[in-house]
Subunit: 353 residues, 2 copies
């Protein structure tokens, strides 16, 4: 949290398939709308036919903070701590402008309620393929972009060069990199990461249940989230030390953060953290909201430990749940319970060393 | 939960000021848009100039389930159990159509981001007055109505005759009854119930803090909610009895309910409840979602108590928090922690009686 904007080289990378090498000269984006002629756009077409927009948006993997959930009961997934999120300025053209150009009729949204994205990254014959709801794609307030730049630079290869989709407010898994094809359809994408992954399950469902992926809902918008990034669990302080707590908060669907509560006594009492002023509309907040809270380790801190907690409240007043066990799920996604950090308190830090 | 639709005579009433008597012949709705000529519409104008729509929507008071929060620490507010919610079919005209007719330019939304509603109910000189965001009022998917009928009947006097606003997905306090005036403005309404009530606060803020009402955010969309309506705490069963759990679930902002988890052992394990099929779009769900779960009291139930719990998950995967203390607030609003019902278990019910 040293910077509101995450530098390109520090932004997390989660690529499910090998990163493709794409020649910008031969690159084509295919757009297929039922009942309309298919359209093929070059990179120059995309950059010159449509108005450019820049949007600052956080992208969070649905599996961010999975390690805390895995501590309850083993599960399957990459061991993300709290770093599967980043905040960047994305520049590109609006998906709704491109779809309208290709003949999509917003009035027919109910007939074709899904927009599919196919990546150019493939594993044997199958490509990375997912979908989002058409109403999100076409929402004038939705800000869904086909991005060609990240923080003012050409989109890096690891982040989807030459084009990635940026769907503010939804899970990172829907923001296809190395975008090759867009289509509108009656059904969701049949891609693996739409149908067999990134779905929510009850804590009662384990791999031997077995999970009914077909009927489980796909994750689109993510729930409210926050995390303390500084200090870290195990950091040592002594009575009288000033501690500056730093962290991030964010919620899906453009819901702004209205408050972050911080506890320095394991949840017995709460304090209101200072929110970094981001200038975002509370109903269209795509970037994260950094927070800080400063306190002094009490002189009479007799305990050897102090537990810090943070929990955020978004503009619909949804809050983070208290604990992980009741939201545990077999893929370790949607891991947004309170974040706890245990500090070690010593009477004399120098002596302790 | 005997019926998906709450009958008019059973629908909760929460009127802040005396109920006015309005003559439909002399009734006028005034609409004031800056830079446009003010418009005055009769009841006949409203019913004949605009297309009619019907929307099934739940209305929930922001103070629903306040008693559970008050159990943590005293607070101020009416002692609502879980009945400050109802689900009805509302028929009327779309607010966006009326505003467009009166000259509101949707493109100027950012200039006038608030739509004010003034009721004809007054206490001395002040009327009931609140506001909603213009983007909600004008959203083609927002379904905000000026309603003149409830469940197919003329709007009852207690529910706002002749016109009430129905803003699906937000707190009941914003759905002004006996509507007298609509205006668009740069700022939120200065009405008492917009500025000095229906706001969220940290659990650390009490009346002697004092609460900073001016800078606290107004409640619009409500968080995910659910409640067991049958059985009730204190109901008695014996081993072998079949228990049918019934309840409701709902979330703000049109977010549908994707799952309700039920526990019959105080939260140690969870079961997936059956959701009543309501046929609603998961991204535009205004009505509540009733649920049921049937189980048998174990023959070896040695404990004298069984604790039932329900918790809902909405389409953005927000969940209800585990407990009330961390969401406690001085007005007892936004009370949406898990609902718990304690059953008494006796070995022989007849003997116990």
């Amino acid at each position: 949290m040293d910077s509101f904007i995450t530098p390109n080289e520090l932004f997390y990378k989660r690529n499910h398939l090998p990163v493709p090498v794409i020649d910008p000269e031969t690159y084509r984006l295919e757009i297929v709308i039922p009942g309309k002629e298919a359209v093929s756009l070059t990179l120059v077409d995309l950059k010159t036919k449509f108005k450019h927009y820049s949007v600052v948006a956080a992208i969070q993997c649905a599996g961010n903070r999975r390690v805390d959930m895995a501590a309850v009961k083993p599960l399957r997934g990459l061991s993300w701590g709290g770093t599967a999120i980043g905040n960047a300025e994305w520049t590109g053209v609006k998906l709704k402008d491109v779809l309208a150009y290709c003949g999509l009729d917003a009035e027919k949204e109910e007939e074709f309620p899904h927009i599919h994205f196919d990546g150019l990254d493939t594993d044997m014959e199958k490509c990375y393929a997912v979908s989002i709801p058409t109403d999100k794609a076409m929402d004038p307030r939705g800000d869904t972009l086909l991005a060609f730049a990240m923080n003012g630079e050409e989109l890096p290869r690891d982040h989807g060069y030459p084009i990635r989709v940026v769907v503010p407010g939804v899970a990172g898994a829907r923001m296809v990199k190395w975008l090759g094809r867009i289509s509108s359809a009656k059904e969701e994408s049949q891609g693996h990461w739409q149908q067999k992954d990134y779905k929510g399950f009850s804590p009662s469902i384990d791999w031997d249940s077995p999970p009914d992926f077909e009927n489980a809902p796909s994750i689109q918008e993510l729930p409210v989230q926050s995390m303390i990034t500084v200090p870290k669990s195990g950091d040592t302080f002594e009575p009288g030390d000033e501690v500056v707590i730093k962290g991030y908060s964010w919620s899906g669907g453009g819901r702004g953060i209205v408050r972050v509560d911080v506890s320095i006594d394991g949840g017995q009492t709460w304090h209101v953290a200072n929110l970094h002023p981001t200038g975002q509309d509370v109903r269209k907040t795509w970037a994260w909201t950094p927070f800080t809270f400063t306190f002094t380790i009490p002189e009479n801190a007799s305990s050897e430990k102090i537990q810090l907690i943070c929990k955020a409240v978004d503009s619909s007043f949804n809050v983070q749940p208290d604990s992980f066990a009741p939201i545990w799920n077999l893929r370790g996604v949607l891991s947004n319970a309170w974040h706890r950090v245990n500090l070690q308190i010593v009477q004399d830090k120098d002596e302790a060393l």
